[in-house]
């Protein structure tokens, strides 16, 4: 298991915009560098990329939740 953590404080979004499909869902296979979410801080949007390859096991926070640096956003089963 590997964790994708938030690099910064802000609001975590699972999709690229309101009404859009989530970047990833539980069970999806992700590759290194793939976009898995967005963290917004003061109207600046930072894309969160997976730093591991594997399968999405769970989300550490809800969509639209406030996150702090180091918070676990997503847990990935490696491989």
């Amino acid at each position: 298991m590997a964790d994708i953590i938030s690099p910064l404080p802000g609001i975590f979004y699972r999709s690229p915009g309101p009404g859009k499909a989530p970047f990833v869902n539980v069970g999806d296979v992700v590759t290194v560098g793939q976009a898995v979410g967005i963290v917004e801080i003061m109207k600046q949007f930072t894309e969160v990329q997976s730093d591991v390859a594997g399968t999405i096991a769970s989300f550490g926070v809800e969509d639209n939740a406030m996150v702090n640096p180091g918070d676990v956003l997503i847990t990935v089963t490696e491989g």
């Binding site: 003061m42 109207k43 600046q44």
Partner: protein, 450 residues
């Protein structure tokens, strides 16, 4: 108007509360949960928490905002800038709820919100617009003759393009036909629509704008401003009047802006924005903002007119007390927008608790702040903390006064953009007015003098 609800936050909410108070109007602030202890929330006579942190659920929550007004017995809503200020649907809902909307008619907001309709209205009112083909190039059009009318350099743009894609630059006539052909092929391949049109390309354009006021019958301007110092299209330094503008251009943008206001029966405060080409000495319409502008204090400084007070009077009585003859201009004003960002770390947002906030004071200095020492800068909203405004007899003295005011200002606990403002004011390009709206991006060493 007896009680005004301010549908905004931060410095502009504080600003509006102060003008309402001077007219004897009671005030209701709205706030999201994390803003409950904000300066505006504490300053207003009453406070309604309209929702959680996210703007969509609080400051943009139309139903909650209107309910807050009705519940507190407010009879008017001032939207400030941003948030719901240019939302025609909200303006209609406010009026439908029996409340006074402090702003122009919803139809004017809608008209100016549509790019092509706004350009057409501006053109019909005599406002200069950027030369270009009327719609896409058609089979049989004499592109060379059309291009000559527009002038070089020009751009060939895909009608279906956007966001900077599908644009080709044409330096001279020799490249024109081949570029059009290439652009059409490319547009067809990328966008599935090969239609292209031509438009003047303005190199190193400045951003100038005209402040207008109207009440549906009387229309006037309060002069111009220059907002060319921008970072990622966000204004960072503004000044009034616009420097280095030929008299004929200044007169043209002022008078045609008044005509545009008249043409749409405008009521309230508005701003007509122009792209200024310093080489051709020509201005062209960009858009009209149907609301109070962030940088309105520099116009207030040089005219002595309280624009928010005028907005409130027009909204409550339907009449402005001003005519063009009442407006005179004195000196030069500069505004620095101070944001919670770290200029030494790629302007990364810097939320947190402000431990110290001491502003410069003295004649000609004005500070519009939404925060004070002890305030928490939440990560949810725009990073602008405050506006520092100086007013002096000349532009050189105003620059000097701004330098001194920035030096005397101390903000601790969070990072701010003050070092960037110092660096920009020290640039010879700013002193000589050879800067333009992409100056900051095109000057990567900008902070080395900070």
């Amino acid at each position: 108007m007896k009680k005004l609800l301010i549908a905004n936050r931060g410095e502009i909410a504080v600003r509006i509360i102060n003008s309402a108070r001077s007219l004897g109007i009671a005030t209701v602030a709205i706030a999201s949960e994390p803003d409950a202890e904000s300066l505006a929330a504490k300053l207003a006579d009453e406070l309604v928490i309209v929702g959680p942190a996210q703007a969509a659920a609080s400051y943009l929550n139309q139903e909650a905002v209107i309910k807050a007004a009705l519940d507190t017995g407010a009879d008017a809503i001032h939207p400030g800038y941003g948030f719901l200020s240019e939302n025609a649907e909200f303006a209609r809902a406010v009026v439908a709820a029996g409340l006074i909307w402090v702003g122009p008619d919803a139809n004017a907001i809608e008209l100016m919100g549509n790019k092509s309709q706004a350009r057409e209205s501006a053109k019909n009112a005599g406002v200069p617009v950027l030369p270009g083909t009327e719609g896409p190039l058609a089979e049989g059009d004499d592109a060379i003759a059309l291009a000559q009318e527009i002038g070089y350099p020009l751009v060939v743009k895909a009608s279906a393009g956007g966001g900077g894609r599908g644009i080709r630059f044409v330096e001279s006539e020799s490249e024109l036909l081949a570029t059009i052909e290439m652009a059409q092929g490319e547009a067809g391949a990328i966008f599935g629509d090969s239609a292209v049109y031509m438009e003047r390309f303005v190199q190193d354009a400045r951003h100038v704008e005209v402040q207008i006021l109207g009440d549906g019958t009387t229309f006037l301007h309060l002069g111009d401003r220059d907002c060319s110092m921008q970072r990622r299209s966000q204004k960072v330094i503004e000044e009034a009047p616009a420097p280095s503008l030929p008299d004929a251009v200044r007169e043209k943008i002022r008078s045609s802006s008044v005509e545009l206001a008249r043409a749409c029966g405008y009521s309230g405060a508005g701003t007509i924005e122009f792209l200024y080409d310093p080489v051709r000495e020509e201005a062209a319409f960009i858009e009209m903002n149907t609301r109070l502008q962030v940088e309105h204090p520099i116009t207030e400084a040089i005219t002595g007119v309280d624009l928010v007070r005028e907005q409130l009077l027009i909204a409550s009585t339907g009449k402005t007390t001003l005519t063009q003859e009442d407006i005179s201009f004195s000196g030069h004003a500069i505004e620095a927008r101070i944001s919670a960002e770290d200029p030494f770390n790629n302007f990364f947002p810097s939320p947190g608790t402000i431990t110290k906030m001491d502003w410069a004071t003295g004649p000609g200095i004005r500070v519009d702040s939404g925060f004070a020492a002890g305030s928490v800068v939440a990560p949810y909203y725009d990073s602008m903390l405050a506006k520092l405004i100086v007013h002096a007899p000349t532009r050189d003295e105003a620059i000097e006064a701004m330098n001194a005011a920035l030096d005397a200002t101390v903000i601790e606990g969070i990072k701010t953009t003050i070092p960037m403002h110092r660096a920009l004011l020290a640039r010879p390009e700013f002193a000589q007015v050879t800067h333009h709206s992409r100056f900051i991006e095109s000057t990567p060493d900008i902070l080395e003098t900070a």
